[in-house]
């Protein structure tokens, strides 16, 4: 029932990020895979597990393994939106614990920016979507906007409080040489940006970039033989509650409530034990809802929690230290980058944005329209 310390993250890397017009998704994932394996001190021939997700094919695992010349004995393509990679980390842990593989490679890549693939939702009207598509909701922003409307009505959350998430993300991005947006940002700037779908402005929404990432996960025996300290998976949980926003039971309760409680219980830890957190910031509201669901603050209190510099550099609760999907990078799905930044923080590799003495990191990925969430708690000895 537990994968506590069943595996360790031992290498991470991104590909080129931002606007990369001369690379395919395979190129980007290959770049990231090569760099992550080098980071780990492992060879491609060591890899016997492959996990990937994305939107570029219906047979991603087959095409990626073929491109890289990998023949996995464990293969997982769980696709639940941006949270897929947090699901993958738990699945890799279980597979390694069961002895199905020893070295698992988690991969993601997208060229949505250069290929202008991100749209506000197609007019596909199949199956359940026939009951939503006639009404013109831009997806996914409109769904998150409706969740924000409910949170504001119930708790008095303000647009200024939402904007604080974007402002803090930009402050962290200014400390990250790889971040896409690094110019100063104020609450007024966010509120003055184009309204997309009330109450979410353009600067309440994540970036649209190209990019890829890779994470290498191994068994404890292999982890202890490598150069870098193992980043142990201490707790994991995953949950999903719906596909369409009109089917979400309660727009203010993210599935992170279920996945987070399982992750903390497995790790034997509490929110107060977390030194640094990486929480999916597809939109500013996503962060507020996830903070409440994970128990960092009570329902309705996240607006106050993210205000006053608490989550910004120098504040009590270092959050999204890479600059997040809002300012660092967001190639369609962001979940793998949460794991990458968490591991780097625990390894002390984050330079100007390093959180001192970080030993426990929380990663919480959200996918779809608040549809899925997986929470991973990572720690170093």
């Amino acid at each position: 029932m537990s994968v506590r310390r069943a595996c360790a993250v031992v290498g991470v890397a991104e590909s080129r990020l931002g606007v990369v017009p001369d690379a395919t998704v395979l190129t980007l994932q290959a770049e990231a895979a090569v760099a992550a394996l080098a980071d780990a001190g492992l060879q491609k021939s060591d890899v016997d597990g492959l996990l990937c997700a994305g939107r570029w094919s219906s047979t991603m695992q087959l095409q990626l393994a073929e491109y890289l010349g990998i023949n996995p004995s464990f293969s997982d393509g769980t696709t639940v939106g941006g949270a897929s990679f947090e699901f993958h980390l738990g699945h890799a842990a279980a597979a390694i614990q069961a002895g199905l593989c020893n070295v698992a490679l988690i991969l993601y890549g997208s060229t949505q920016r250069s290929r202008r693939e991100r749209s506000l939702g197609s007019r596909e009207a199949g199956l359940g979507y026939q009951y939503e598509s006639p009404y013109g909701m831009p997806s996914p922003v409109g769904a998150y906007a409706m969740a924000a409307s409910r949170h504001m009505a119930l708790y008095g959350t303000t647009s200024e409080q939402l904007a604080e998430v974007a402002v803090a993300a930009r402050k962290w991005a200014m400390l990250n040489p790889r971040a896409y947006r690094r110019e100063p940002l104020t609450v007024e700037d966010v509120l003055g940006s184009e309204m997309i779908s009330t109450p979410l402005h353009k600067l309440d929404c994540c970036l649209v970039t190209d990019g890829g990432g890779a994470v290498v996960v191994v068994s404890p025996e292999i982890a202890r033989s490598l150069r870098k300290p193992p980043i142990w998976l201490l707790g994991h949980g995953e949950a999903h509650s719906h596909a369409m926003i009109s089917q979400m039971p309660d727009l203010t309760v993210s599935p992170a409530a279920r996945s987070g409680s399982r992750a903390f219980a497995m790790a034997g830890l509490r929110p107060s034990d977390v030194d640094v957190a990486q929480i999916y910031d597809s939109f500013t509201i996503t962060v507020l809802l996830t903070l409440e669901a994970l128990g960092f603050c009570k329902p309705g209190e996240a607006g106050a929690f993210v205000s006053g510099g608490r989550i910004a550099p120098g504040g009590e609760f270092p959050l999204n230290t890479s600059g997040g999907g809002l300012s660092y990078t967001h190639p369609g799905q962001f979940g793998i980058f949460l794991i990458i930044e968490a591991a780097r923080q625990l390894w002390g590799e984050c330079g100007e944005r390093q959180v001192p003495d970080a030993e426990v990191a929380l990663v919480s990925g959200t996918g779809g329209v608040l549809s899925s969430n997986s929470t991973c708690i990572l720690g170093r000895d």
Binding site: L120, Q130, L251
Partner: protein, 136 residues
């Protein structure tokens, strides 16, 4: 224009819409109402389902005023309101709120069913602010 997919699960739903009726299902095993139409109850998986006609009265559960539409057809209607409405019979659905300024819409607002025309020319169930004393 994109097809309106009529699938076997939808059953009498779209026929009802074409006739100006909002139909929903109630499970005869567990007693719960649900939407969208299915062949099994999403609470207990029973197939003992009954179609009913809604009175069309409810409240706005959540909403957003769209300024950047998903495509050119909807762009002509900007700004418009996408909402989720809780019907008194115990189910929730997505819709548009019409016949009022988008600025006037509020979470909790009482609304009543009104049929309108979608961007593809199809009849659709929308909602408008409920008039005082209005019943169906």
């Amino acid at each position: 224009m994109p097809e309106q997919i009529v699938d076997p699960d939808a059953g009498p739903y779209w026929e009802g819409v074409a006739k100006g009726e909002l139909r929903y299902q109630c499970c005869m095993s567990c007693g719960q109402a649900f939407f969208f139409p299915r062949t099994v109850c999403p609470h207990c998986l029973s197939k003992e389902l009954e179609w009913r006609k809604s009175r069309g009265l409810g409240q706005v559960y959540a909403f957003t005023v769209v300024h950047r539409a998903p495509d050119a057809a909807f762009a002509q209607r900007v700004p418009y309101v996408v909402a989720m409405v809780d019907l008194e019979e115990g189910f929730r659905m997505m819709t548009n709120v019409v016949s009022c300024s988008p600025d006037a819409v509020r979470v909790g607002m009482e609304v009543s069913l009104v049929f309108g025309t979608g961007v593809d020319g199809q009849q659709l169930p929308y909602f408008q602010p409920k008039a005082p004393g209005e019943e169906r």
